[in-house]
């Protein structure tokens, strides 16, 4: 517990909290900012937020675990989101996941041992016209065939 007491939140997060502190319903917005700063929501940051915002830790974890967007574990340096919306599913989204598993050696929601990639399935990136779609760090690759994956991954 000692380390948690001494933990200093990043200044940009502290500023953000100051800006949102008095607004009702601010918890989700603050968690978004925390995840943006740290890449995920580390346990000690959650403890600190509970203290700073004066809300029970259980409530913070209740919210984090309810929403898919919030992550409790460190993610890879590059985040591969494989779209599993209906259009992508019909056009072979599952094959893309299988192929990534073969190439990277890890399945969904796991980080590669070198910490370089993590693979996540997402619900519809909203470019169904390009199905099947993968996004890596926000860059979208559409109309993919699994043969293109090694080349795309080699860029990262």
């Amino acid at each position: 517990m000692e380390t948690i007491k001494n933990l200093e939140l990043k200044p940009s997060l502290i500023d953000y909290i100051a800006q949102w502190r008095d607004k009702p319903g601010n918890l989700i917005m603050i968690l978004h900012k925390a995840q943006e700063e740290y890449g995920f929501i580390p346990r000690d940051v959650a403890f600190k937020l509970a203290e700073v915002l004066d809300v029970p830790l259980a409530k913070i974890y209740g919210v984090i675990t309810f929403y898919h967007f919030f992550k409790l574990e460190k993610r890879g340096k590059n985040i591969i989101n494989v779209c599993m919306g209906t259009a992508c599913y019909l056009k072979g989204g599952e094959d893309i996941i299988k192929e990534l598993e073969i190439i990277l050696g890890v399945g969904l929601n796991t980080v590669t041992p070198d910490g370089k990639f993590s693979v996540e399935a997402v619900r519809c990136l909203g470019c169904c016209g390009l199905a099947p779609v993968v996004s890596i760090n926000g860059t979208v690759y559409g109309k993919l065939s699994k043969n293109q994956l090694p080349e795309i991954l080699s860029k990262y």
């Binding site: 009702p24 319903g25 601010n26 918890l27 989700i28 917005m29 968690l31 978004h32 209740g62 919210v63 309810f66 929403y67 898919h68 967007f69 919030f70 599993m84 919306g85 209906t86 259009a87 599913y89 019909l90 056009k91 997402v122 619900r123 519809c124 990136l125 909203g126 470019c127 169904c128 016209g129 390009l130 199905a131 779609v133 996004s135 926000g138 860059t139 979208v140 690759y141 559409g142």
Partner: protein, 598 residues
């Protein structure tokens, strides 16, 4: 001074992801190099809708519609079209059937656009969504001005009621009626909420509207604020839509600068402001009471209705909550009048509907058609038919809450009531086309998997029922199904419809009921004959080596991960069906097509 040429570049998500930004930068550079800045304006617009053909660039006044552009094509377009006035034929859109011969220049002639009628998407692909002046030039904020200075709040609600507009989020509740409930409830504080939590897999209408025309939503929410007496609005939007969030933020900033949001709007006595709240990836938050819980910063769990949000919503105050597409209709209804709007559509469903047309279709993209358009017109006239000349099997509407529409209903006019009558629903507007290669049981399993993942767990019928449905479907697709399972599927589905707390649970079994109704024989085939006619369900497949085609190279035996293929280069090879895990690697690697799957 007006420009001589306008270059409109689609900056929707689909085009952006295929180098639209680079194309834009190249145009800027080429125009600058030739010192044409005073003659040519380059505009990044919202979605043109024809995502299949992206990236798309349109040049006015020539009306040249360039498709599938590459960044290196830009120079040629500037040299030929802009400078010499000659349209670059090779880059124009040409319909599939006469590829390369008869190319279209006039957008109005393109089959994809012919049966469309744009109200919601009126500005998408025309204005730069990051410039408020362009919205204003297209009569933007004129409806707000009319409302504030010429109409009483009750008149506004009457106008919306008379237009016949129904909520576009799925259930189709009359919008004017909803507003009147909130107006009549007395309270010191009231709220306006925009539902932009488009979680439906395979749907991106709201995203495109927000990205292409964010001001229309701000204007509409402000009008509703005036009508019901609210001074604060929230837009609840998915965190997965960064571009839409950015454009909304820009739009809100500009509207505040212009005095169109904030205190004393346009010099009237009316105050209204809007804030953005981010979702965090929970499909159930599209349900209005769950959404409100999420705006309040809580776990997004629904609560029983009544009381409805219109009476007791956000922080217990009366709240009008509508989805993006509904809002986008409002300014047009105010400006053109309820009777104009009510002329469009069918008797009980007025106006238009935006669909995200995707799946096994030639022209996938975003379309807007009058209510009452038939599925056949959408799929074959606008959508250009099924990909690779395959057979149409079914269209799925309403996503995980909806159902399938089989070929026999291709000529049914699409509106709220007709879709409900045939066991599907309007939903938010995803329309996914399936062909003969798609297994109906597998797709149903996909939707159930989705609903089970997204169930919040608060009520038992949805939490347990969904899980049981999924298990049964898993059993059937892996060849262990029994005929008695069909009855179980039916009974659990009905129980979920009746007993679940919110819309998610009540509709989660719709895909099961609708596919069992129209494709019951496929379920039976899976169970009785261990057969998947679409050859999708791997566990029901049998891989075999055809001796007459096999050259005995042995590659298949080498790639088989479980050693199920035995033999040698003399005698040939056979697959041990007991060991085979049906991964399909042998089939994929065989260069001689000597392995069959059936």
């Amino acid at each position: 001074m007006p420009y001589k040429h306008y270059i409109l570049i689609c900056a929707g998500t689909a085009c952006e992801s295929s180098h639209a930004q680079e194309i834009h930068d190249n145009f800027i550079k080429e125009i600058k190099d030739r010192q044409l800045e005073s003659d040519v304006q380059v505009v990044k617009t919202g979605c043109f809708g024809f995502c299949e053909q992206g990236p798309i660039v349109k040049i006015l006044p020539d009306n040249a519609f360039y498709v599938k552009l590459k960044p290196e094509d830009v120079k040629e377009i500037v040299d030929e079209n802009i400078i010499k006035g000659r349209v670059v034929q090779r880059l124009l859109y040409s319909p599939k059937e006469d590829k390369g011969r008869h190319q279209m220049t006039d957008v109005a002639n393109i089959d994809f656009y012919q049966k469309q009628f744009r109200i919601v998407l009126r500005n998408c692909g025309i204005i730069d969504p990051e410039k408020i002046d362009e919205y204003i030039a297209r009569d933007g904020y004129k409806a707000l001005e009319k409302v504030l200075f010429e109409m009483s709040p009750t008149q506004v609600i009457d106008e919306v009621s008379r237009s016949g507009l129904r909520g576009r989020g799925g259930a189709g509740f009359p919008t004017g009626l909803k507003w009147s409930f909130t107006q009549k409830t007395s309270s010191d504080v009231k709220y306006i909420v925009c539902n932009a939590d488009e979680g439906d897999p395979g749907a991106y209408m709201d995203r495109s509207t927000l990205e292409g025309d964010p001001h229309s939503i701000l204007e509409a929410m402000t009008i509703a604020g005036y009508a019901v007496g609210a001074h604060k609005g929230y837009i609840y939007i998915r965190a997965e839509y960064p571009l839409a969030i950015e454009r909304l933020n820009i739009a809100i900033g500009q509207a505040r600068d212009y005095g169109l949001l904030g205190e004393k709007i346009l010099g009237s006595n009316f105050d209204f402001d809007i804030e953005i709240r981010l979702g965090a990836g929970a499909f159930v938050c599209g349900e209005e009471t769950a959404l409100l819980a999420s705006v309040e910063g809580e776990r997004g769990m629904p609560r029983p209705r009544p009381p409805f949000p219109a009476v007791k919503g956000l922080w217990g105050k009366p709240t009008v909550i509508n989805n993006v597409e509904t809002w986008a209709n409002i300014p047009v209804i105010i400006l053109k009048g309820a009777s104009w709007f009510a002329k469009i559509g069918t008797e009980r469903s007025k106006g238009t509907k935006v669909f995200a047309l995707t799946g096994k279709i030639n022209n996938s993209g975003l379309i807007e058609v009058p209510m009452g358009t038939t599925l056949r017109e959408i799929i074959f006239d606008i959508g250009g038919g099924i990909k690779d000349g395959k057979q149409f099997k079914a269209a799925q509407t309403g996503g995980p809450s909806g159902g399938v529409i089989p070929a026999e209903f291709l000529d049914t006019p699409i509106d709220y009531d007709n879709l409900t009558a045939i066991g599907s629903m309007m939903g938010s507007g995803g329309m996914i086309v399936m062909d003969e290669d798609d297994c109906i049981v597998d797709i149903t399993k996909f939707y159930l998997q989705f609903s089970v993942d997204e169930s919040c767990g608060k009520c038992a019928p949805c939490r347990i029922g969904g899980y049981q449905l999924l298990n049964l479907l898993e059993k059937i697709t892996s060849g262990r199904g029994e005929m008695a399972d069909l009855n179980k599927l039916f009974k659990i589905s009905q129980a979920m419809q009746k007993a679940s707390l919110c819309g998610l649970g009540q509709t989660a079994s719709n895909p099961v009921l609708s596919t069992m109704k129209y494709f019951g024989e496929e379920y039976q085939e899976h169970i009785q004959n261990n057969k998947c006619r679409a050859r999708k369900c791997a566990q029901l497949l049998k891989f075999e080596i055809l001796p007459e085609k096999c050259v005995k190279c042995g590659l298949c035996a080498k790639v088989c991960p479980v050693g199920a293929i035995s033999g040698d280069r003399e005698k040939g090879y056979v697959i041990d069906q007991a060991k085979c895990i049906r991964c399909g690697q042998c089939l994929e690697r065989c260069k001689f097509k000597a392995i069959t799957r059936g």
